[in-house]
Every structure is written in structure tokens, then in C-alpha cells.
Amino acid sequence: MSTAEFDDVKIEDVQELEKEIAMRGTASATEMEARDVSVWFGKRKVLEGVSIAFPKNTVTALIGPSGCGKSTFIRTLNRLHELIPSAALAGEVLYEGNDIYAPEVDPVHIRLKIGMVFQKPNPFPSMTIRGNVLSGLKLSGLKRSNHDDIVEHTLKAAGLWNEVKDRLNHAAGDLSGGQQQRLVIARALAVNPSVLLMDEPCSALDPGSTLKIEETIRELSSEITIIIVTHNMQQAVRVADNTAFFLSTDGTPGHVIEQGPTTEIFGNPQDQRTLDYVNGRFG
């Protein structure tokens, strides 16, 4: 082995080590992290090499045109992805520094710590408003004694308490779409998660309800980490600390073109495609 080669190896090692140290330095501040995540449905690769870190108690927006794999990606973060037959995954997803796909990890436990809100409001129609809020506890078998406190606290956090406090025993299906979505947020919060995934939570809602949900997101972000998929550029600007731009062109798997503080992505994007997208030139 020549000296030059020896030096090369050494330099790489040092770089690797520096990276490691840098990561450890931020470990306390990073709630979740995706490392080189690739996703397949059957033989079709839909996501390639996605690495994003989600700092604790921040809001991260995932933006990009339809079909770029944002929703698929967000579903890998709480192991819902694996419930689709033929789904496959490579890479790592770390939650509090631990790989959530490690064989000893119970996916149920992960889904309780990493809650999710979907595009379409999906309260359980056969349950009351109160029943819906508490359904996470019931479904997962968690035991809590202070049910009334949980209902009040989470409905307040979701900005719904004043509208429903007098009719907690009414059917959840009677609420408006925006109210249902906030009820679903309260339901997700009731199991006390530390991360909340939101997959286009406002796409089915009117502007007024959207604003209320955005307020809720801002308020919640002081306590939990939020990752939100959105098609609404203004929404990303309004609520997100960080933004990642996904793109899939001509049938290639989706990947992250650019990521960073929201102000940078929208104010000073480094990639032409990001600039075009955030200015509404495509997508």
C-alpha cells in the first residue's frame, strides 16, 4: 500500500468521523431522521435515496407535484407503508436515534409515538365526538384514568373545544369537514405522540378551516414535531420552519431536489427546478 493511498483512506475516515460527530451533536435536537430511504411498490421504485432530518419541535413541509412520492415517504415514517402488500423499503428511519424498522421494534408502539392525520377527515362514524378523541386509547389498549381531562385538553389543542364542548356525546359525523379534521387531530394527540405526520390535512377544507388548522399546527409545534405534506405553497410558507422539495420526472423515482429552511427554499432556492416550482411554473 502506497503512502498516497494510505493518506486517502485516512482522510475519508476522518471525514466520516467528523460527520458522525456532527450528527451526534445534533442528535438531541433531531427527533426523526430518514437516511437514504428508497421505496418500492412491487418492482416499481417510487422513492430514491431520501435523507431528511426533522429537528425536534419544528414544522417541516414536504412539497412537490402530485405523484412525486411525498405521501409515500410520510407513510414510511410511522410504518404504515409496510401495510400495503408488495411494499418494500431500503434505508433507515430513525426516531430518537433508533431505527424504527429494527426487528425488535413493535410497529404499534411506533404508531402511537408518531401520530398521523390524513387528507380526508376520517373520524369513526359510529362513535361520538368524545369517543373519537378517546378511540386511540381504546384501540391501542392504553390505560389512562383522566379521560375528561384528555378530551378537554386535546380538543383545546386542536382548536375545537369551544365548538363542541356542549355536544361531546353527539355523532362525529354531524361535524363539518373542517371540524372533523380538527377532531381527528385531537384524536391523534390523545395518545400523546411526539411526532405528528399530516398528509395534506387541508386539501379537502375551506379557507376558513384551513386557517384554523394552520393556527393549530403553529401552536402544537412548540410541543411536538410536525411533518406536513402540502400542495399549498402559501401554507408551507405560513407554517413550516423547514421545507423539502420532492420531484419525480419522466417516471424516475421521486427524490429530494432541495431542502432547507423554508425562507431559503422559497426566497433563495439553489436549484432552477425548485425556483420554477415554488413560483408556480409547473406542478
Binding site: L83, N122, P123, S126, T128, L139, H170
Partner: protein, 319 residues
């Protein structure tokens, strides 16, 4: 009066609607009424037969259990139909539910498809074939099962048997009815469970629940109406089934077998009719059998109404 001032425009009359739609409308309405007319026709025909029977036999026709001229009473048969249906339900409903849960939520697509076809095929087996099968194959085996039930669970009243004769029992008849119900109930429950909105399943999964809790709190409550409907369809077949039961059940009028399901002898209105019709002694006995048919028909309606009430009462939230 405002109605004198406001002149409403004609929105509904035929003059304003499309002609093709009008014709189509009439045809559909006529078709819909055909079902009602047939139902009414049967009710009236059977009712007319039942009136003279009630005049001669009185209420005893419904409350006593005897078929011995000049006294006739079908209580034992009516009760027997109910008992057989309950036995069939107890066996068929859990089996069908498990089968459809497997097909909808667990089985790979290819397996589910094959199973679906097999189950649908099962529904196509003529009941006389099932009856013959029950007579030659099921009955001897069933007698052994019943002997075991009696031996180990004999302390439960329903599994008591004092005669030692395990043939021609309500249990075997209920079992063959269950086999006939399973394809119908499975077909409907599979369809209903398959329609659980994916977003509700998503919601349950995202809340970290297991398969069982998802079924218990999401899929089953969501499909409640449809599931009960499926069971009712199956029950309809059980109540009206004639031939299969005829092969395996020993018809006994007196004493009425109330709950000893593995004791030889029981009743079923439909089977009574088929077994007596060919050898009816005269027009009066035929009339008696038709009257029995009328009350079977009424009983079936009653069961349906009660089931609907149950569905509407339970778990309905106030709006």
C-alpha cells in the same frame, strides 16, 4: 295568503321532463311494484286458506302441538323452525364472519378469489343434494359428535339426551341448515367488510391498533346494517328450507322438543308441509298445510321486523 300571490312554476309534471325518461320511469315503477304485487298475492292467497282453519281449529291451531284428526295444532312446528334457525345461526354466523374476514383482510388476492368462487359455488348446490349428503354422510358422523357432546357437556341442559338415540335431532338439521346459510351470509359479509372505507382502516392503523381491534371497533360497527342484512338473508333460507331438513329431522308433534337439541325429534313448518302434502287426506288437510305456510310466512316477516328494530335501536347515535 301568500299562495295566491306566488305562482309556482311547474317543475315536476311530465310536460316538462324528457320523454324517454318518463317512459323509463314508468317501466321501473311497474317493475318495482311487481315484487309488491306478488308478495301481496301470496299473503292474500295463504290468508284466505288460514281464515277457515282458524274458524274450525281456533287459536289452538297455533298454541297446541298435534296432528291427529280432527285436532290440528302447529305450535311444535313453528317453535321447531325457530329452534333450527337458532342452531343454524349459532354455527353459521361466526363461521361466515371468520371466513369473510380472512378473505377481505388476510388472504392474498389470488387465494381470496379462489375462495370467493368456491363459496359462491357452494350456494349453488341444490338443497336435495345437500339433503342426501346429510342423510348418508353427515348424519352418521353427527351422531358421533353428539354422543361426544353429551358425554362431555351433558351437564349443560341443551346437551342432555336420555334416549341414547342421536338420529333425527335438531342439531343435525340445524347443522345442514348452517351449511346452506354459510355461502349466503359469507357472500354478503365479505362484500360489506370489503366496503369498509380505507380511510377508516388507515385511521385505525395509524392509531396503532391490532387487526382484532380494527374489526371490533371500526369494520364491524361500520358494516353493522349490512352484516345483519346478510344474516337475515341466511335466516330466510333456514326458515324456509324444506328438503334438506326433511332428510335428517324426525318430525315429532308431541312432546315439543324445546331445548334438547341432541335428542331425537323436532319440528319445522316447511318440512311438515312437504311431508304431509303428498299424502293429504283431503282438501281440508291441504288447507291446514297452507294455513301452516301462512303462519311460517308471518313468522319470517316478524323475525325480519324484529331484526330491523334491533339494528335501528343499537349503537345509533343521536344527531
Amino acid at each position: 295568503m301568500s299562495s295566491t300571490e306566488t305562482e309556482f312554476r311547474d317543475l315536476q309534471s311530465a310536460a316538462t321532463s324528457h320523454r324517454g325518461d318518463r317512459v323509463f320511469n314508468r317501466i321501473i315503477t311497474a317493475a318495482a311494484f311487481t315484487a309488491l304485487i306478488v308478495l301481496a298475492g301470496i299473503t292474500i292467497f295463504l290468508g284466505f286458506q288460514a281464515v277457515p282453519v282458524l274458524q274450525t281449529q281456533g287459536i289452538d291451531f297455533l298454541t297446541t302441538s298435534i296432528w291427529d284428526p280432527p285436532n290440528y295444532g302447529i305450535w311444535g312446528m313453528l317453535y321447531g323452525s325457530l329452534l333450527l334457525s337458532i342452531i343454524a345461526l349459532v354455527i353459521a354466523v361466526p363461521t361466515s364472519l371468520l371466513l369473510s374476514v380472512f378473505m377481505v383482510f388476510l388472504a392474498p388476492n389470488s387465494v381470496a378469489k379462489v375462495l370467493t368462487n368456491l363459496v359462491d359455488l357452494m350456494a349453488a348446490i341444490p338443497s336435495v343434494i345437500l339433503g342426501l349428503w346429510a342423510f348418508y354422510v353427515l348424519s352418521p358422523v353427527s351422531e358421533q359428535w353428539q354422543a361426544l357432546l353429551n358425554q362431555y357437556l351433558g351437564w349443560i341442559p341443551i346437551f342432555q339426551n336420555s334416549s341414547g338415540n342421536f338420529s333425527g335431532t335438531p342439531f343435525t338439521a340445524g347443522f345442514i341448515l348452517a351449511i346452506m346459510m354459510i355461502p349466503i351470509v359469507t357472500s354478503v359479509t365479505r362484500e360489506v367488510l370489503g366496503r369498509t372505507p380505507p380511510e377508516l382502516i388507515n385511521a385505525a392503523e395509524a392509531l396503532g391498533c391490532s387487526m382484532w381491534t380494527m374489526l371490533r371497533y371500526v369494520a364491524l360497527p361500520y358494516g353493522r346494517g349490512g352484516l345483519v342484512g346478510g344474516v337475515m338473508l341466511g335466516l330466510g333460507r333456514a326458515l324456509g328450507e324444506t328438503i334438506a331438513v326433511f332428510f335428517v329431522l324426525k318430525i315429532v308433534f308431541d312432546p315439543v322438543n324445546y331445548y334438547n337439541i341432541i335428542e331425537s325429534g323436532g319440528g319445522s313448518v316447511a318440512t311438515l308441509i312437504v311431508s304431509k302434502f303428498g299424502e293429504a287426506s283431503g282438501p281440508y288437510e291441504t288447507q291446514l298445510l297452507l294455513a301452516a305456510g301462512f303462519f311460517l310466512f308471518m313468522g319470517t316477516l316478524l323475525v325480519n321486523v324484529v331484526a330491523n328494530l334491533i339494528v335501528n335501536r343499537t349503537g345509533r347515535l343521536k344527531s
